[in-house]
C-alpha cells in the first residue's frame, strides 16, 4: 500500500545490500535522484536490472554499488560509451562486474512476464544471434501447437523496482504519461517499490480513461522529488537535458573527474537539488 516518505526513508526502507533492483524508465522518467540516494546510502553488491543502464547505472557502477548488471543496451544514447560501465567490464574498476546481457525484446518480454506472474517470457527472438551462446539464461522451447521454436528468458521479478512518475494523488495512485517504457511492469513484477514523483496533487484532473495509472494498492513508497528524473526528463514538466548527456562523456571518461563530480553533486547533495531542473522548464 502506498506510503508517502522522504526519498532517503523510502530507499532505506526498501533496498538492502545484495538486492536485485530494477530502476526503469526508457530514456524518459529515469529515476536519477533515487540513484543518487542509493549511492549516498552506500549500498553494495546490488544486481542492477535495466534495459539501458544509462547515466544512472554508470554512476552506481562507478561508485562500486553493483556486483552484477542485467541489461540490453549499454551506451550513452546518441553520444557513445558509458565509460564507467565499460571500465568495470573491461578493467574490473572499481570492482568486477558480472553481466547478463539480453536484447530489448527479451527484457521487455521478461518484465511483462514478471508483471503477469509467469516464470518466463516467450517470444520470437535471438534467431541467428550469438547472445544465447554466452548467456545461459536464454533458452529455446518448442511451441506445442505449431512446432515453432521460440526463445524464452526468465521473468524479471526484482526485489525492488525504482521508477519516477509525473504525479501521485493524495491516496497514493500514481500517473505515468508519455513514453511509459516498462515502468508499470517493473513495479508490478517487484516485491517492493519506490516511486519518485514530480508532484503530489489532490486530483489528476482531466486524464483519459486509459491513462497509465498504478493504483495505490500496487505501490510501495512514494517520494515527491521535483526534477528527480534529470538529466532524463518528465513529459509535461521539463525536457531531456541532451547537453548534459553529451557533457557526461567528458565527466565520466576518467576515474578522477568522475569521482570529483560525484563528490560534489551526489555525496554533498540531496534530492532537493533536483528542483531547479523542474523549475528551469
Amino acid at each position: 500500500m502506498a506510503e508517502f516518505l522522504s526519498l532517503s526513508e523510502a530507499v532505506e526502507g526498501a533496498l538492502a545490500d545484495g538486492d536485485t533492483v530494477a530502476m526503469e524508465g526508457f530514456t524518459h522518467l529515469i529515476p536519477h535522484a533515487a540513484g543518487h540516494e542509493v549511492i549516498r546510502q552506500g549500498r553494495r553488491d546490488l544486481t542492477l536490472v535495466r534495459m539501458t543502464p544509462d547515466i544512472v547505472y554508470d554512476q552506481l557502477i562507478g561508485m562500486g554499488c553493483a556486483r552484477r548488471c542485467v541489461f540490453s543496451w549499454g551506451g550513452n544514447p546518441g553520444v557513445g560509451s558509458l565509460h564507467r560501465f565499460r571500465d568495470a567490464v573491461q578493467n574490473g574498476w572499481p570492482g568486477p562486474l558480472e553481466i547478463e546481457e539480453h536484447s530489448h525484446a527479451a527484457m521487455a518480454n521478461a518484465y511483462d512476464a514478471g508483471a503477469a506472474g509467469l516464470p518466463f517470457a516467450l517470444f520470437r527472438g535471438y534467431r541467428g544471434a550469438e547472445l544465447p551462446k554466452v548467456n545461459p539464461a536464454i533458452k529455446f522451447i518448442t511451441c506445442p501447437y505449431t512446432g515453432e521454436e521460440l526463445a524464452c528468458v526468465p521473468a524479471i521479478r526484482a526485489d525492488v523496482a525504482i521508477v519516477h512518475a509525473q504525479k501521485a494523488n493524495r491516496d497514493g495512485d500514481v500517473l505515468f504519461e508519455g513514453i511509459v517504457g516498462v515502468q508499470k511492469e517493473a513495479v508490478l513484477g517487484a516485491k517492493r517499490s519506490v516511486i519518485t514523483v514530480e508532484e503530489v496533487v489532490d486530483d489528476f484532473g482531466a486524464v483519459g480513461p486509459n491513462a497509465v495509472i498504478l493504483p495505490k494498492w500496487t505501490v510501495g513508497a512514494i517520494a515527491a522529488v521535483p526534477g528527480g528524473a534529470h538529466p532524463s526528463y518528465a513529459h509535461g514538466y521539463y525536457a531531456r537535458d541532451n547537453g548534459f548527456y553529451k557533457a557526461w562523456d567528458k565527466i565520466s571518461r576518467e576515474r578522477d573527474t568522475f569521482e570529483s563530480w560525484i563528490k560534489q553533486h551526489v555525496l554533498a547533495g540531496g534530492p532537493e537539488d533536483f528542483a531547479k531542473h523542474a523549475a528551469a522548464a
Binding site: G75, E101, H104, R127, E130, Y245
Partner: protein
C-alpha cells in the same frame, strides 16, 4: 568539384531508398538522419517508429536518444515498450528496419556487442538493444554506415544480429521468414546482396569515388554487380533539407556553455 560531403551523400542516398508507404523501425544516428530526411523530402507520409514506443512520429530535430520528448509529442500514439516489441515488431507490422553496425561482414551480419572475445573484450560496445529482433522481424533491413577496414571485416567478432548468415538458405534454416539485409549504403557506394550467394556486391558508386578507394576500405574481396552505376549526386533540395535538419538538431542539443551542467 563537389559541394557536398561523403556523409551527406550517404544520408541522401539512404533516404532515397525509403518509400512514402514504408513503416520504418529507426535506430539512432545515421539511420535516424536518413529516415527523417526522407520524411522531409520525397516521403512525407513515411511512418517512423522508434523503439521507445512512439508510432508515426514526426520530429523537427533529430533526437539524441531513442526516447526524446519530441518523438512522443509528435507521434500518432505512444505504446509501452513490451507492446512495441510484441505487437508491432514481432507482430510483423514493420516493413523496413534501419540499422548501423560497428562491424559488418559481407553477408550483412552485424556486430555491435564487443571487439575481441566476449568474456575478455578489447572494446565493450553498447550491445544489441533492439537490433537482434529488428534484424529478423522487419520485412527487410537497410544498413547505413561509413566504410573502413575496421568496420567492414572478413569475420565479425560477435554476431549481434543476423544478416544472411553464411550464405543462401541460412535464414530459412533458422526459421526466419523475412528478407534480411537488402541494401547497404556507405559514404563510398551502394551494395546489394547477390541474389544467389547473398554476398553484398557493389551496384552503384558515388560520384568521384574509385573502385580502389572502395577496396582499400573493405576488409574482404569486393565483388561488383554486372552493372555498376554512378549514384546520382544529392540535389539542392535534398541538401537544403538535410543541412536545415542538422542545424536545428545542433542548436537543440548544444552542450551548455560552462561545459559542465549541474547534476
Amino acid at each position: 568539384m563537389s559541394d557536398y560531403t561523403p556523409a551527406e551523400m550517404m544520408s541522401v542516398t539512404a533516404a532515397r531508398a525509403l518509400r512514402n508507404d514504408d513503416v520504418c523501425f529507426v535506430g539512432i544516428g545515421m539511420p535516424s538522419e536518413a529516415c527523417n530526411l526522407a520524411r522531409l523530402t520525397h516521403a512525407p507520409d513515411l511512418t517512423l517508429i522508434y523503439e521507445s514506443g512512439t508510432l508515426g512520429t514526426k520530429p523537427s530535430v533529430l533526437p539524441l536518444s531513442i526516447g526524446d520528448g519530441e518523438l512522443c509529442e509528435t507521434a500518432v500514439t505512444t505504446v509501452s515498450v513490451p507492446e512495441m516489441f510484441r505487437y508491432w515488431l514481432q507482430g510483423g507490422r514493420i516493413t523496413k528496419g534501419f540499422l548501423g553496425a560497428a562491424q559488418l561482414d559481407r553477408f550483412g551480419n552485424i556486430n555491435t556487442t564487443v571487439v575481441g572475445d566476449y568474456h575478455d573484450p578489447k572494446v565493450r560496445l553498447p550491445g544489441g538493444g533492439g537490433a537482434p529482433e529488428i534484424a529478423t522481424s522487419c520485412g527487410e533491413i537497410y544498413i547505413v554506415m561509413r566504410q573502413s577496414v575496421r568496420g567492414f571485416v572478413e569475420k565479425i567478432d560477435f554476431v549481434t544480429s543476423l544478416g544472411h548468415g553464411s550464405g543462401p538458405g541460412d535464414r530459412e534454416r533458422l526459421g526466419v521468414t523475412t528478407k534480411g539485409p537488402s541494401l547497404l549504403v556507405t559514404d563510398l557506394c551502394v551494395w546489394k546482396p547477390d541474389p544467389e550467394t547473398r554476398e553484398f556486391t557493389v551496384v552503384s558508386i558515388h560520384p568521384g569515388v574509385t573502385r580502389g578507394e572502395i577496396e582499400e576500405n573493405t576488409g574482404w574481396d569486393v565483388r561488383y554487380g554486372a552493372q555498376v552505376e554512378e549514384t546520382p549526386a544529392p540535389g539542392a533540395q535534398e541538401l537544403e533539407a538535410l543541412r536545415g535538419l542538422k542545424a536545428r538538431t545542433e542548436a537543440a542539443h548544444a552542450v551548455p556553455e560552462k561545459g559542465e551542467a549541474a547534476e
